[in-house]
Amino acid sequence: MNASIGTRGLILEEPLLWEKGANGRRGMSLPRRDVERIAVSESVRGDQPDFPDLSEVDVVRHYTRLSQWNFGVDTGMYPLGSCTMKYNPKTNERQAALAGFAGAHPLLPAPLAQGILELLYLLERYLCEITGMDAASLQPAAGAHGELAGMLICHAHHRHQRRARSKILIPDTAHGTNPASASLCGFQSIPVKSGPQGMLEPAEVAALMDEQTAGIMVTNPNTLGLFEENIRQVAAIVHAKGGLVYCDGANMNAVMGIVDMQALGVDILHLNLHKTFSTPHGGGGPGSGPVCVTRALERFLPVPRVVKRRGRYVLSENFPDTVGRLHAFCGNVGVQLKAYSYILSMGAANLKRASQIAVLNANYIKAKLTGAYHLPYDRPCMHECVFTDQIQAAHKVSTLDIAKRLMDYGFHPPTVYFPLVVSGAIMVEPTETEPRENLDGFVEAMRAIAAEARENPELLHQAPVAPKLTRLDETSAARSPCLSD
C-alpha cells in the first residue's frame, strides 16, 4: 500500500448521548429568572422530556469524538461525482455568522432589513448573469426543492396556456429526484434512452414528444460527465410541440463563463449553491437550490420576491400568477449569503477558470486511469468521468469493493452505481480545488487497487480495514429497522 495516505491513529469510543451524563447536570447557561413563576394548568402541563442531563464538557467531548469518525472535504479528496465536493472557503462562514445576517428576523419591516435584502437581490442578478437566464428565485432550500419549483413553474405555464399536460420526458441518465419531483406535479415520467455516445438523440426525443407532454428534464453536462451536444435540436423539438426545457443545473461547475444556458434552449434551470457555489454540504444539508427562468416564465416564480423600488428593497408577494410559496420564509438565506461571498471572492475570471480547471482535472484522471479501469464512453469529458468495474469483475471484485478499498488509501470513494445506465459505475468528480499531487495520489491508489484486484482480491472483499468500523449490515438494518433508542 505504497500509494496510501491512509494510516491508523488513536480514535476514541463514544457512547450514545443517553448512555452518559447524570441527572441534574447542565450543559448550558440559563438566563437569570427576573420574573415570578406563573402556574400552568394541569390540562396544559406535560411531562418533562426524557433527555439525558450532560455537562458542557460531556457535550463537547461527545461531538468532538463523533466528528473524528467522519471524513469531510477538509479531511481529504472527496471525488464524489455529481456532488461537486469542492473546498468550502472559510471566509464564507465568517460572513454568514455576522450578527446582522445570522440575527436577522425574517419578518422585520423592510426598512430595517435593507442590507440583507440588497444582498439577496444582487445574488439573484449574479446567478442570472452566470447562467444566462433572466430571473431567479433563491427560495428553494435544496436541489430537489429547486426541481420541484421548476416543475411547478412548468405546470403553471401549461395551465395558463389552458392546455393541461400529463407527461414529461426524462432521460435515463437523470438524477432519481427528477421523476420524483415531476410526479409531485402529477406528470408521468416518460424515459428517454440515451444514444450510443451517452447523449440524447434528437430522433428519440422527436418520437416521444407530443402535445400531451409538458417538456423535458435534462441534465447538462449530463450524469455521464458529457456535454449534451444535441441540446439545441432537442430543445427545438420540445418547443415546437409547446413544451418547456428544464435543466438540472447540478453540473453547472463545468460550464461557468463558458455556456449560455438560454442559448441552449433552456427555459428553467435550478442551481445547487452547495455544489457549484462552494457552500458546505453539512453531512446532507442545508443546501440551497435557486431556480432560474426566462423572462417569459418570470411571472410564475415563487413568492415572496425581492423587488427594488426607488432605491429601496422590499419583499413583494404581489405576483398574481406565481406558483406560490415554497418555504416558510426566503429559503436558506444563511447558505445563500455564503454563495454571494464566494462569487464576490472569485469574480468572473476566476469562476470561469474554476470551470476550466474542474474539466482539466477530470480529463487528467480519465487519461491516467484509462486502461486500469474500463471507460464506457471514451469521449472528452466535462467535470467528471465515469468508469466501471468491468475489468475487475473478472476477479470477482465489484465497484463496491473498489470504493471501500479506497477508504483504506485515505480517499473518499467516488459516486458508485450511478448513473444507472452504466453497470457498476464509478463516477469521479475531482473539482478544481484538488491540486495535481492529490490527483496523482488518487490515480496511484486506484492503480494499486486494480493490481490488488488481480493479485489479492480478498483484500478488497475485506475492505475497508482502516476506518473505525468495517462494512455495515445494511440488509438487517432495513429488515428490522431501529430508528431510535
Partner: protein
C-alpha cells in the same frame, strides 16, 4: 486565487497529459452556438479584506439585538445559543462532509442523526422521527401528502390558526395534484373551532398547530378525538416553537398521528428565516410511508454497533417516480445543531428554559392587560400572544420603531378581522426591564 491551487506550469503539464493545447481546447467539442458570446459581468474579485468590509456594511444595515429590541416570533425565534454549539459546528468533519452514503467513514454524522431522531421522538412523544426536512412549512406539506397516501383520500382540513406561510406552502404543494384544502376557522378563545370539521366529507387529515400562530395552546386531544371518530382521518399536529414541549403536553401524548414543525429554536440562528429544520415524526405504523432520510442502527462485520441510512427503498433514487417524496437530503447540520442544543439543555434544562419563556411572556401579558390593553384571546399561551393596540395602532408601532423596539407582527395582512392586533413574542432573551419598557412605551 487562493482556492485554485494550479500553477501555470502544472496546467501546462496536465494539458499535455490530456492532449489539449490550452484550457479553451478542453471545450472545443461544444457546439459554438451553445457558448457565451461575452464574458460574465460581475463585480471585480474582492480580497478577503475588501469582502469583510463589504459584508460588515451590509450586515450593519439590519436591525438586530441588542441595538434593537425585537418582539417578533411567528415561526422564527430568538433564543440564546451557547458558544459551545457554535464552536462544535465549526468542526469541519461535520460541515464539509456529504450525505453519509459511505457509513464506514461517516459514523460521526450517522450517530449524531440517530441521536437527533431519538431526541425528537422523545420530545414529541412519537414512535419514529426522520433525519429532518427543509423547514416546518415544507414538513407540514409533506405530512399532508403522506396522510393523503395513507388514507387514499383527497381533502385535508387545515386550521386557520396555522402559520399563514405554512398554509401558503401547503397550497403550493397541493395545487397541481388536484387535492383540496379546507380551512377550519378559529373560535373566540383563539383556538381552532373543531366544529368546522363536521361539513367536510372524508378528510385525509386534520392539521392543527400548537402552540398555534396566535400563541394559543390548542386542545390536541379533542382534535385527535374528532379526527379518529371518523375511523380513518389522521391528526397532523404541527408547531413552530418546539421549546413549548418542555412545558406543555407533547403531540404524541395527545394522540397525534404525525407531528411536524420547525426546529429553528434549538440552537439555529434566525438568518432571515433559513436554514431552519423541519422536524418530522409519526406513529410506528406509518414508518414506511414517511418521507425523508432515516438513520438506523445496525452492526459491522465484527458485530460492533454502527449506523446507516436505511429504508431507502421508499426513496427517489430507488423508487424514482413512486417515491414517498422527492427529498434526497435533510438539513443534516441543522439537525446536528438541534441535537447539540437538546443535549446541552438536558431534560431539566429544557423544562426550566420553557418555564422561563412562559413566565416572561406571562409577565408582559399581565403588564399590558393591567395597562388597559385588550388581549383578544383567552386560551393559554406559551411565549407568544396577541394584543390589540387602541386607536391608531400604526402610529404606536411606528413610534416604537423609532425607539428601536419592533413591537411584534401586525396581523391585519393575514387576518383582516384582527386589524390593530399584533403578535408579540417574549423569549428568555428579554429581561424584565425590556418588558417594563415596552409596556411604558406603548402606554405613552
Amino acid at each position: 486565487m487562493r482556492y485554485l491551487p494550479h500553477t501555470d506550469n502544472e496546467i501546462a503539464a496536465m494539458l499535455s497529459a490530456v492532449g489539449a493545447r490550452d484550457l479553451e481546447a478542453l471545450f472545443s467539442h461544444l457546439p459554438a452556438d451553445c457558448c457565451r458570446s461575452r464574458p460574465m459581468e460581475l463585480p471585480e474579485a474582492m480580497t478577503e479584506w475588501e469582502l469583510d468590509r463589504h459584508m460588515d456594511t451590509l450586515s450593519g444595515r439590519t436591525a438586530t439585538s441588542p441595538r434593537y429590541r425585537v418582539f417578533l416570533g411567528a415561526g422564527s425565534y430568538h433564543h440564546h445559543i451557547p458558544a459551545s454549539i457554535a464552536y462544535l459546528l465549526g468542526r469541519s468533519e461535520f460541515s464539509t462532509a456529504y450525505t453519509p452514503y459511505q457509513p464506514e467513514i461517516s459514523q460521526g454524522t450517522l450517530q449524531a442523526i440517530y441521536e437527533y431522531q431519538t431526541l425528537v421522538t422523545r420530545l414529541l412523544g412519537m414512535d419514529v422521527a426522520n433525519a429532518s426536512m427543509y423547514d416546518g412549512a415544507s414538513a407540514l406539506a409533506e405530512a399532508l401528502l403522506m396522510a393523503i397516501r395513507i388514507t387514499r383520500r383527497t381533502t385535508v382540513a387545515v386550521s386557520k390558526a396555522i402559520h399563514p406561510h405554512y398554509r401558503d406552502v401547503v397550497r403550493t404543494y397541493l395545487r397541481p395534484t388536484g387535492y383540496s384544502v379546507v380551512e377550519l376557522d378559529y373560535g373566540p378563545d383563539g383556538r381552532t373551532d373543531l366544529g368546522g370539521t363536521a361539513g367536510i366529507p372524508e378528510p385525509a387529515a386534520i392539521a392543527i398547530q400548537s402552540p398555534n400562530f396566535f400563541g394559543c395552546v390548542e386542545d390536541l386531544q379533542a382534535a385527535a378525538r374528532t379526527a379518529h371518530a371518523d375511523g380513518k382521518a389522521l391528526l397532523v399536529a404541527c408547531f413552530t416553537e418546539p421549546l413549548a414541549f418542555g412545558l406543555v403536553k407533547n403531540p404524541g401524548s395527545q394522540g397525534a398521528d404525525i407531528a411536524c414543525g420547525e426546529g429553528q429554536s434549538f440552537g439555529i440562528p434566525r438568518s432571515f428565516g433559513g436554514p431552519g429544520l423541519g422536524m418530522f415524526a409519526a406513529k410506528k405504523d406509518f414508518m414506511r410511508s414517511m418521507p425523508g432520510r432515516l438513520v438506523g442502527k445496525t452492526t459491522d462485520r465484527k458485530g460492533r454497533r454502527g449506523f446507516v441510512l436505511t429504508l431507502s427503498t421508499r426513496e427517489q433514487h430507488i423508487r424514482r417516480e413512486k417515491a414517498t417524496s422527492n427529498i434526497c437530503s435533510n438539513q443534516g447540520l441543522c439537525a446536528t445543531t438541534a441535537a447539540m442544543y437538546m443535549a446541552s439543555l438536558g431534560g431539566t434544562g429544557l423544562r426550566e428554559l420553557a418555564e422561563l419563556n412562559h413566565d416572561k411572556c406571562g409577565y408582559l401579558k399581565a403588564g399590558l392587560a393591567a395597562a388597559g390593553f385588550r388581549l383578544p384571546f383567552g386560551a393559554p399561551t406559551f411565549n407568544e400572544f396577541v394584543v390589540t393596540f387602541p386607536a391608531d395602532p400604526d402610529r404606536v408601532y411606528r413610534r416604537l420603531l423609532r425607539r428601536r423596539i419592533v413591537a411584534g407582527l401586525p396581523l391585519a395582512a393575514w387576518y383582516p378581522e384582527l386589524a390593530g392586533s399584533y403578535l408579540l413574542c417574549v423569549t428568555e432573551t428579554m429581561t424584565r426591564q425590556d418588558l417594563d419598557d415596552l409596556v411604558k412605551e406603548v402606554s405613552a
